[in-house]
């Protein structure tokens, strides 16, 4: 079974802090994604990556950046956290199977 692991389940950060959310997948998938889920808005794509060192903006990239130095690891970075970035963050990976497997999610609260 594919396993997508998000390192932090629950985080509380202060406004202006730099935040790293880490995601690791163990199935050698080419594609990795970061989403955020907010009530009434569904899952919105922040950034994605089709290969190492490649990144593409999703629908809501503002305030975020990503890093993919190794195929199995995809990091989401909030350079200066703000309260409107309080959300549940979901990492996913996929290959040519045509569906994505998701991690358990990271709940981020910015105070």
């Amino acid at each position: 079974d594919v396993k997508v692991t998000q390192s932090s389940r629950y985080l509380v950060k202060r406004t202006g802090e730099k935040v790293f959310l880490e995601c690791v997948q163990d199935m050698d998938h080419e594609n990795m994604f970061w989403y955020r889920q907010d009530p009434g808005l569904g899952l919105r794509l922040i950034y994605f990556s089709y290969d190492v060192k490649m990144k593409e903006k999703g629908d809501i990239p503002e305030g975020y950046s990503v890093s993919r130095e190794k195929k199995e690891r995809f990091s989401l970075i909030l350079e200066s956290a703000s309260t409107n970035q309080t959300s549940m963050y979901l990492c996913a990976s996929s290959s040519s199977d045509r569906y994505s497997d998701f991690g358990e999610g990271s709940w981020l609260t910015v105070v």
Partner: protein, 110 residues
């Protein structure tokens, strides 16, 4: 613009009856669709998918129907069980990315 829409934010169904969750899309180029189920504080899990070359796909209690001319798909759960209570997201595949709807919260009561 929302390319994938789930217009019912919630649905309540009695145990044993059918649950029907609906999803509409705007882009006629979409050719593959998926349904995910999500429990609170967990990541979404893949449920069932359908390709545009089919109009129906079935897996146990779950059936997905696709009406390409109407750009509409639906997920049928028969019979519904309390463990089916969750948020259901439909998604369309767009160049290896998934475009999600806003979700429908299903509650199955005894």
């Amino acid at each position: 613009d929302q390319q994938v829409k789930q217009n019912s934010p919630s649905l309540s169904v009695q145990e044993g009856r059918i649950s029907i969750l609906n999803c509409d899309y705007t882009n006629s180029m979409f050719d593959y669709f998926l349904w995910y189920k999500k429990y609170p504080a967990e990541g979404p899990t893949f449920l069932i998918s359908i390709s545009s070359i089919k109009d129906k796909n079935e897996d146990g209690r779950f059936t997905v129907f696709l009406n390409k001319s109407a750009k509409h798909l639906s997920l049928h759960i028969v019979p519904s069980q309390p463990g089916d209570s969750a948020v259901y997201f439909c998604a369309a595949v767009d160049s290896d990315k998934l475009i999600f709807g806003t979700g429908t919260r299903l509650q199955v009561f005894p």
